[in-house]
Each structure stands twice: as structure tokens, then as C-alpha cells.
């Protein structure tokens, strides 16, 4: 089951994702895993439109995707996109195996504290990251592939 990139990025599909990650990894489909977007038709239309021709974009809720994974093997070169670490951790606990997690951005908002310029977490999100790391899944902060990788573990207390 080839998940080629699993990325946390609260902007989901946008300039950086299209111009670098999708191209560098020859991604054929982007699966957006987010409960809010799964219920928001406007955001879904925008996501589908923002993808370049030939790139398939599908949106699933977290639990919905866990169920789908049980029945459907992934065959295409795939990028998973999340907005936060809690959803990633839920998916891993639901049976998804990931080689590593790339963190592009979880921007500052109420209730979060800042770990780096583009990564901020609530206590729950921080715990979710710790859970992933405890399962030996490396979590790497990296905005675009050319940036140096920062191990998220080194940013946690």
C-alpha cells in the first residue's frame, strides 16, 4: 500500500503542495482526510479545482477513511493530506501504516503554542505527535522538499 507522502498542512492543497510535493513524488492522487472539509461542499469544489489536470483529489472524513482502507487497497501513487496530528494519529490507530509524517504547517491559533514558525499545537495535538513518535513513525517538519528537515521530536519538551 504505497502512501508516498503523508503531510499535515492546514492549507491543504495550495501553491507549495502543487509546485513541489506533487511534482517531486509523481503523485497521482491526493486524499484529503478531514471531517470538516468532508462536509463542506464549497471547500471541496475549490480543492478539486485547485489541482492541476491529471491529479485526482478525493476528500474523506477520518472514520470514513478508516473504513474504506479496510476494504480498498491503495494502488495509485498517493499523497495524504491532513490539517492536524490528531487525525493522523487516529488513522494510524485505525490501521494505516505510515513510513513517516511530513509537517508543513499548523498555523498559530487560539489554544495553540508555537513549536516553530509554521507549526503550533494544542496540548492534544502535541500528545498526538508524541503518540506517533512513540510508534516509531518519524515526524519531520519541512515546508517544501528543498528545506532542511527538522525532527519534530527536537521541538518538543
Amino acid at each position: 500500500m504505497p502512501i508516498n507522502v503523508a503531510r499535515i498542512d492546514d492549507r491543504l492543497i495550495h501553491g507549495q503542495v502543487i509546485t513541489t510535493w506533487v511534482k517531486n513524488y509523481d503523485i497521482e492522487q491526493v486524499l484529503v482526510i478531514n471531517d470538516k472539509v468532508a462536509e463542506d461542499k464549497v471547500q471541496q469544489s475549490v480543492l478539486t479545482m485547485s489541482a492541476p489536470p491529471g491529479l485526482k483529489v478525493l476528500v474523506f472524513g477520518v472514520q470514513q477513511f478508516i473504513e474504506i482502507l479496510k476494504k480498498t487497497p491503495i494502488k495509485k501513487r498517493t499523497m495524504l493530506l491532513f490539517t492536524n496530528s490528531i487525525d493522523v494519529n487516529a488513522l494510524v490507530e485505525g490501521g494505516l501504516s505510515l513510513e513517516k509524517v511530513n509537517v508543513g504547517g499548523m498555523r498559530m491559533q487560539d489554544g495553540r503554542h508555537q513549536l516553530s514558525r509554521a507549526v503550533s499545537v494544542t496540548p492534544e495535538e502535541e500528545q498526538a505527535f508524541k503518540n506517533l513518535i512513540a510508534k516509531n513513525i518519524p515526524v519531520e517538519v519541512q515546508m517544501v522538499p528543498k528545506d532542511p528537515i527538522v525532527d519534530l521530536k527536537s521541538l518538543l519538551n
Binding site: 492549507r11 471547500q43 475549490v46 504547517g105 509554521a118
Partner: protein, 143 residues
């Protein structure tokens, strides 16, 4: 007397701000232009809020022109959310300076007028200058 069409310029980094400053250097101060700069650490919900509120604030009833840098980028995606929910939004991606100047010169008409002005200007705006030079020299040799 219709109000000039308001404009939102949005980009990654300072491109939109720079484009406006460039245009103002050529054409003088411009009113009712709002710039949105998406930075690495900008919160997406704040940006969405800024896009929505600037549309509401600027719109005088004749619509709003939005120019963004690239298709599929965050500025374009946020503007598309507006486009889906409002009929009086004209959204173009990939704008350049000649397009911006043309839009600023065509703010007295309708959104549709602005649309035609953009579509006419854009293909003519990025040219191999040497080729134009060569064509002119050939012409000037004719008597």
C-alpha cells in the same frame, strides 16, 4: 455616476503589494484596492476572514475584481470560495503588471468589461522583445 470597480490583489509573499506599488508608480495613487499577502505563518482562517470581509467592505453593488498569482495557490483557493458563493466576483489567476494596469484603467465599466480587457491584454503582455525589435527593423527598411 458608477463607482470604480474595487479590486483585491492577493499573492504568496509581497508580490501583490509590489505589483500595486509598481502600478501606482506608473499611474498614481489608486483607491479601493485591497492587498492580501499570504505568508508562511499566516493562519488560513484569518486569511479566509480577510478575503470575505474585504469583499464585503469594498463591494459597492457593482462587484469586485480579484487578481491572484497562481492557479491552485492559497490566494486563489480562498478567492474561489468567494466566487462560488457570489455572482459578482471576477477572478483571474496568473496576473501580471500589464494586466493590472489594464484593469486599473478599466474600472469605470462593468465586471464584464474588465474581463474582456484582461483577456485581450494577457496574451500580448509577455513578449520576446528581440523578436519585436527585428520585425520593426525589417519594416523600417521598406520605403
Amino acid at each position: 455616476m458608477p463607482q470604480p470597480l474595487p479590486i483585491i490583489l492577493a499573492s504568496h509573499g509581497p508580490f501583490a503589494q509590489g505589483a500595486l506599488e509598481c502600478a501606482q508608480m506608473l499611474m498614481g495613487e489608486q483607491d479601493n484596492v485591497h492587498v492580501i499577502s499570504v505568508l508562511i505563518d499566516s493562519n488560513i482562517d484569518n486569511l479566509r476572514q480577510e478575503m470575505q470581509s474585504s469583499y464585503k467592505k469594498l463591494n459597492q453593488g457593482n462587484g469586485v475584481i480579484i487578481l491572484v498569482d497562481i492557479m491552485g495557490g492559497t490566494p486563489c483557493n480562498l478567492a474561489t470560495e468567494l466566487l462560488i458563493s457570489h455572482d459578482d466576483v471576477l477572478l483571474f489567476c496568473g496576473f501580471n503588471i500589464p494586466v493590472l494596469l489594464e484593469v486599473l484603467n478599466n474600472r469605470e465599466g462593468t465586471l464584464n468589461d474588465a474581463k474582456f480587457a484582461i483577456e485581450e491584454t494577457f496574451p500580448e503582455s509577455c513578449k520576446d522583445v528581440r523578436q519585436i525589435l527585428n520585425v520593426q527593423q525589417e519594416q523600417s527598411n521598406e520605403l
